[in-house]
């Protein structure tokens, strides 16, 4: 299996805070990879570096064979990124948001309708509603549609299920599994241990370090707490 993402010795600090310390990681093509860790573990920083939004202090990262610093323009066509905070236009309707994001990637909603259809169908009845008026779960589904609309090769999801009810959380993970079957590489982070089991592999993160990369064990929560105490 080829590696979609190769990360080697990434470090990043904000002033005196070390957000990432010597992080190394590989994610295989077509994998559903989970970053598991508490708030402040460095997950968002890692996503932002991989999404070409931040430049690391040291270390390298390549995505789809492109360096995230030097080839950032090419990478921006290949990746889909859904930030941890709801980042759509609250004053635009569901449909307007989606067609706007489609247009900035030079595609149309009709062209790639099939890809987003399983998710979009659930929010389609509310397509004229302003995004700001949607429930938490529906907001995340819309954000996922927007991140997917241009058929990215790699999808970054920063805590897609935070602030979402249990049923919608399960639905979102079902969708991710389905997207994975279509060959999209997915990296998702979550603070919820139970969601780790939906991934092919997970990385346990804490205080800017990767503690371990493994297949999700059955008793993930206990396992993680044990590992945290062991540090």
């Amino acid at each position: 299996m080829n590696n979609a993402i190769e990360i080697c010795g990434l470090s990043k600090s904000y002033g005196s805070v070390n957000a990432l310390r010597e992080v190394s990681l590989t994610v295989g093509e077509g994998e559903l990879f989970g970053l598991i860790g508490p708030d402040g573990a460095g997950k968002t920083t890692l996503f932002r570096i991989l999404a070409t939004l931040l430049v690391a202090d040291s270390g390298t990262a390549t995505v789809c064979g492109y360096d995230v610093v030097t080839d950032y323009k090419r990478l921006r066509q290949l990746v889909g990124y859904m930030p941890g905070r709801f980042s759509l236009y609250q004053d635009l309707s569901v449909e307007e948001n989606l067609s706007f994001y489609a247009s900035i990637f030079g595609v149309t909603l009709e062209e790639n309708y099939d890809l987003v259809a399983p998710i979009y169908r659930q929010i389609e009845p509310f397509r004229t509603r302003r995004a700001g008026m949607l429930s938490g779960g529906m907001k995340q589904k819309l954000a996922l549609c927007c991140a997917l609309i241009h058929k990215p090769q790699i999808l970054y999801l920063d805590e897609p299920t935070t602030g979402v009810d249990v049923v919608s959380r399960a639905e979102l993970w079902d969708m991710l599994s389905m997207l994975r079957e279509q060959g999209i590489t997915i990296v998702a982070s979550t603070p919820y241990m139970d969601e780790g089991s939906r991934c092919v592999r997970i990385a346990l993160m804490s205080e800017g370090r990767i503690l371990e990369v493994c297949q999700p064990p059955d008793n993930l929560e206990e396992y993680f707490i044990e590992r945290m105490r062991g540090v």
Binding site: T52, L53, R76, V79, S87, D91, Y101, I104
Partner: protein
């Protein structure tokens, strides 16, 4: 890229149309300012209460006083003796006194006593009285007040207000709207897309350019038809110079949005650093020649100063575009410098 730009512009228009406060700022405030300054707030002096003191009421004096009293700017209060002038001015029953010399018929000597508590009003009163009295007697001076013979203050204010409104809409609203995307996190998503980030902000400028152009037209119509600003220099020149100033203000807004991270900061910088100079350095409130030399130098880089100068020449003095080439040149140069600087400074990452 064409399609992307147009969908950006469309999105921006939706933002503006759905935000009632923005619409208020963009349409109502300019109208309010023009009406306020044009009609209500005015430094024009009218109904000056004048008393006359004449030891000898010769026919020459009486004819001069008749001429004075017939002026629409003057309210003739009455004849008094020299000694009570001070009391009349102090009590506010008169704001100026005209004293005719005893040998007025021969010398035509007249003394003006004016309430100088408000320097601006006193200066205007002085000028009015001199012109009116000189008009009623043989005088070595023949006075012509060119371009704005009635000294209407609205003529002076309209270019100033235009200079301010366009900074308000173009610089402030644009910078706030760009910074809003940073605050709401939408910039993060936009950056991770193939759209060159600079297109994002340039397409943000277009709707505001359109809106301020509508404002420009409204202001020009109001100024011409309601306030009778002559604009004999031609509307074409006014529009050309104004559009350059609009683009310059938009670029200022882009610059501000590069420097700040929050909408409040954008608002403060636009108001303090950009609107205050319009008031102080543009000659709208205080003549530039009265500024201390250090501030006068600052005024040379304030775009509004050049714009307002050009507008005065075009609207009131009635010169054509060829008369404001220096002002236009300075504005174009500043636009170019600011644009290059802010595009180079534009960050297509998060930090």
């Amino acid at each position: 890229m064409q399609i992307r730009m147009s969908s950006f512009v469309r999105k921006e228009m939706l933002h503006i149309l759905r935000d009632k406060r923005t619409m208020l700022v963009v349409i109502v405030i300019p109208l309010m300012l023009i009406l306020l300054f044009g009609f209500t707030v005015s430094t024009d002096v009218s109904n000056i209460d004048v008393v006359v003191s004449a030891p000898v009421r010769s026919s020459d004096v009486e004819s001069s006083v008749r001429h004075l009293a017939s002026s629409p700017y003057i309210t003739f209060v009455g004849y008094i003796d020299m000694a009570s002038i001070d009391a009349m001015l102090r009590s506010g029953k008169a704001s100026a006194a005209v004293v005719y010399a005893a040998d007025y018929a021969v010398t035509h000597d007249v003394q003006l006593v004016i309430d100088g508590a408000d320097a601006n009003t006193a200066a205007t009163t002085n000028a009015y009285l001199q012109v009116i009295i000189a008009g009623g007697q043989p005088s070595p001076f023949e006075m012509h007040m060119l371009y704005n013979p009635q000294m209407k203050s609205s003529f002076n204010f309209i270019p100033g207000i235009m200079g301010m409104i366009f900074i308000l809409i173009c610089a402030m609203m644009t910078s706030i709207s760009i910074v809003k995307e940073k605050e709401n996190g939408t910039m993060e998503v936009l950056l991770v897309s193939p759209v060159r980030p600079i297109y994002i902000v340039i397409s943000k400028m277009i709707p505001y350019l359109m809106l301020s152009f509508i404002d420009l037209i409204i202001i020009l119509l109001l100024a011409h038809y309601a306030m009778e600003v002559p604009m004999t220099g031609g509307v074409g020149g006014i529009i050309v110079v104004s559009v350059v100033y609009l683009v310059l203000s938009l670029t200022l807004g882009l610059m501000v949005s590069n420097l700040v991270q929050s909408q409040i900061a954008a608002l403060l910088i636009s108001a303090m650093v950009m609107m205050m100079p319009v008031l102080f350095f543009s000659g709208m409130l205080f003549p530039i020649d009265n500024l201390p030399w250090a501030l006068r130098w600052i005024s040379y880089v304030v775009p509004a100063r050049w714009y307002i100068d050009a507008m005065r020449k075009l609207m009131i003095m009635g010169v054509g575009l060829e008369g404001v080439l220096l002002e236009l040149g300075v504005l174009l140069l500043e636009t170019l410098v600011l644009f290059v600087a802010s595009v180079m400074k534009f960050n297509d990452r998060l930090e």
